[in-house]
């Protein structure tokens, strides 16, 4: 679907029907999609550079289908806690119509999909690293880390409003040792607590090569 940026007049193209948010590639305005027009939430400051080989437009494969990266959230966790740093959440449009996320952090890649079955999702205050959580009707995950996260930038199109400064608590989980997750040593789950409520994503840790990426960014010296 075609729109025009209310700020600079450039064409803004939405690939997915499910996305409501986009960043103008030309003027970096943060845009919210309404029925017929776009609303600007102001300009986004320049994204911090990173060495990620992924970019909006990169294609990859997962299981029997393929996907295209259509958006990105750059998340930071503020200083003052034990650590500080950033990671990328790439928004995926799959060819079968589904949407998913590809997390990229410290050289780990995790692909995940929104999960409607939120049985057993605890309150954020109950979580500590190392704690076991029963999700999806009795599958054992363990909390790996909990981060007070903040959106420090975004690009492309996204399924929710992701202005800079959007805050959430991000909890990463993986298969608990000896867990009953069938054949999934590399299971991954993520809980996202924000003012919008709680969201659960479930998927897998995979290696870079597993995705058979095309359309990667060129990195000098590599």
């Amino acid at each position: 679907m075609e729109y025009t940026c209310p700020s600079c007049g450039a064409a803004v193209h939405f690939k997915s029907r499910a996305t409501v948010f986009s960043v103008c590639t030309y003027c970096k305005s943060m845009l919210v999609r309404h029925d017929l027009n776009l609303e600007s939430l102001g300009k986004m400051s320049e994204l911090l550079e990173d060495m990620s080989p992924l970019q909006v437009g990169t294609r990859g494969v997962f299981e029997r289908g393929s996907f295209e990266i259509i958006g990105r959230l750059k998340i930071g966790w503020p200083q003052g806690t034990l650590d500080g740093g950033t990671w990328n959440e790439w928004f995926l449009q799959l060819d079968d119509g589904r949407q998913g996320w590809l997390g990229e952090a410290q050289g780990f890649y995790m692909i995940s999909f929104p999960e409607e079955d939120r049985r057993g999702v605890p309150a954020v205050s109950e979580l500590v690293p190392g704690k076991n959580v029963l999700l999806l009707g009795g599958k054992t995950f363990v909390v790996d880390d909990i981060k007070q996260a903040q959106c420090i930038g975004s690009e492309g199109e996204l399924p929710f409003r992701a202005p800079q400064g959007r805050k959430n608590v991000s909890v990463d989980l993986s298969a608990a040792p000896g867990s009953n997750l069938s054949g999934t040593q590399n299971a991954f789950a993520s809980l996202d607590y924000s003012s919008d409520g709680v969201k659960l994503y479930v998927g897998k840790y995979l290696e870079f090569d597993d995705f058979k990426f095309t359309g990667l960014r060129e990195l000098d010296g590599w």
């Binding site: 590639t25 970019q55 034990l82 500080g84 410290q106 790996d144 298969a175 590399n186 010296g221």
Partner: protein, 444 residues
């Protein structure tokens, strides 16, 4: 715009990311290089040792110059090398020591923007190539079960940073200490590091120093290897498991074969002869009646006499009635006993078996003569009763034991060599489960 399709989103190629970023150390002004841009959280200035926050461009100093003794990394920062088909660049280096502060090891952080991070860990000249893993083992009684393998607890201890330079994906800090546990299944080592917040697991694989030297074009000699490293593969140990399987297979086959032989053996009695050796004159040779061997077989002759401090011998020939083929043999019994300063003693036996293997079918008889001590005086002559039994198709156990020895000699030698190596390896372990494993070795 109408009628013209807009360029697809994202088709506009963004400028390639920078390969490296350089800035001046806010403390000493020396040039600092940032290679994993956007991934590294902190950089330690190679000149003054200040730890600099690189999560934004304010380059705030987190801590200053805590390092007293500078360590020169064997592989310089920025060096690229190819390991396992991938190019890796050394971006960070640290030296850590254990709780005693006597033992130290060195860790190189490797980076590839596509594949993430790896570690090279060197201790006592031994190298492990390490990858972080999100899969976690199941721990029970000092064993870690991981991806279908059992890793044995080798060591529990602490790791404290004593020197650090370069960039890292966390905030390195002076004297940072973590709890370390190592589990081994050579050539692999599974390690956990626990800080205040979380436990991180990693999987290492032992690499030959030559591989590291070639990969990173190191011109200096590699540090010499000391002892047997926890994850060092020992050929005899690696051979042990498949060998044990073959051995078990052959053993079962051998036993089955012997059992079959026992079950199928005819063990048929051909002759029973008995007589008394008078002991006062040379016995005359005797000839037995003929007997049939319907098919090729072995023939066992048992010679028995209740000799006491005496001996008796059977000299015999098995003769084929029609062809005249001969099988000569002699067998004797002797039995002596007595007592001396060490107590009572005895030696010898009152019966002896002799097996003639592969006797062809036919009609046979036995020519035999009993030989024994001869006394000239009839008064001192000892009479000796004797029995001769001739059987065919008897089970030979000597072949079985020979085969058993041949099948076992190599596995047992390998096991012995392996256990010597393993004792050296486990001598350095502080696992409380280790005592059981190394057979109570207490040379620590």
């Amino acid at each position: 715009m109408a009628g013209e399709s807009p360029p697809p989103f994202g088709a506009k190629k963004p400028a390639p990311g920078p390969s490296v970023k350089t800035f001046s150390c806010p403390s000493c002004g020396a040039g600092v290089i940032l290679r994993a841009v956007g991934q590294s959280i902190s950089v330690v200035c190679g000149s003054c040792g200040s730890v600099i926050d690189v999560t934004n461009e304010n380059y705030q100093i987190l801590s200053s110059a805590f390092q007293k003794n500078k360590v020169i990394p064997l592989i310089p920062l920025g060096q690229k090398g190819k390991l396992r088909g991938e190019t890796w660049q050394v971006i960070g280096f640290m030296q850590r020591c254990d709780g005693s502060e006597l033992y130290s090891w060195r860790e190189y952080l490797l980076y590839n923007p596509f594949k993430g991070f790896r570690w090279l860990v060197e201790s006592d000249g031994h190298w492990n190539y390490v990858i972080m893993t999100k899969s976690k083992p199941t721990i029970q009684h000092g064993d870690a079960k991981f991806l279908g393998e059992t890793y044995k607890l080798f060591e529990k201890g602490t790791g404290k940073v004593t020197f650090v330079v370069g960039e890292f994906y966390w905030k390195v800090s002076a004297g940072e200490t973590v709890q370390v546990e190592d589990y081994v299944c050579p050539p692999r080592i599974l390690s956990s590091e626990s800080g205040d917040q979380e436990t991180v697991w990693s999987l290492g694989e032992y690499l030959d120093p030559g591989v590291i030297q070639a990969a990173f074009a190191i011109s200096q000699p590699m540090p010499g290897r000391i002892g047997i490293a926890p994850a060092q593969p020992v050929k005899s140990s690696l051979l042990l498991r498949p060998l044990a399987r073959y051995w078990a297979f052959f053993l079962v086959a051998l036993l089955a074969l012997q059992l079959l032989t026992v079950m199928l053996s005819s063990n048929e009695k051909l002759l029973h002869l008995s007589g008394v050796y008078t002991g006062n004159d040379v016995e005359k040779p005797k000839v037995t009646e003929s007997f049939q061997l319907r098919k090729g077989t072995n023939v066992e002759v048992t010679f028995q006499s209740p000799v006491n401090n005496n001996w008796l011998e059977l000299d015999a020939t098995l003769v084929n009635d029609s062809t005249g083929a001969q099988y000569n043999f002699e067998q004797g019994v002797e039995y002596y006993y007595g007592s001396d300063s060490d107590g009572s003693w005895s030696e010898g036996a009152q019966h002896q078996e002799n097996v003639i293997s592969s006797v062809t079918a036919g009609t046979y008889h036995l020519n035999y003569q009993i030989v024994g001590p001869i006394s000239v005086s009839a008064a001192t002559a000892k009479e000796q009763p004797y029995n001769i039994d001739v059987r065919r198709g008897v089970v030979s156990w000597s072949n079985f034991f020979l085969a058993l020895f041949l099948v076992s000699a190599f596995p047992v030698s390998v096991w012995w060599i392996s256990s010597r190596y393993e004792q050296r390896r486990w001598a350095d372990s502080n696992s409380e489960y280790n005592l059981v494993r190394s057979g109570g070795s207490d040379d620590d």
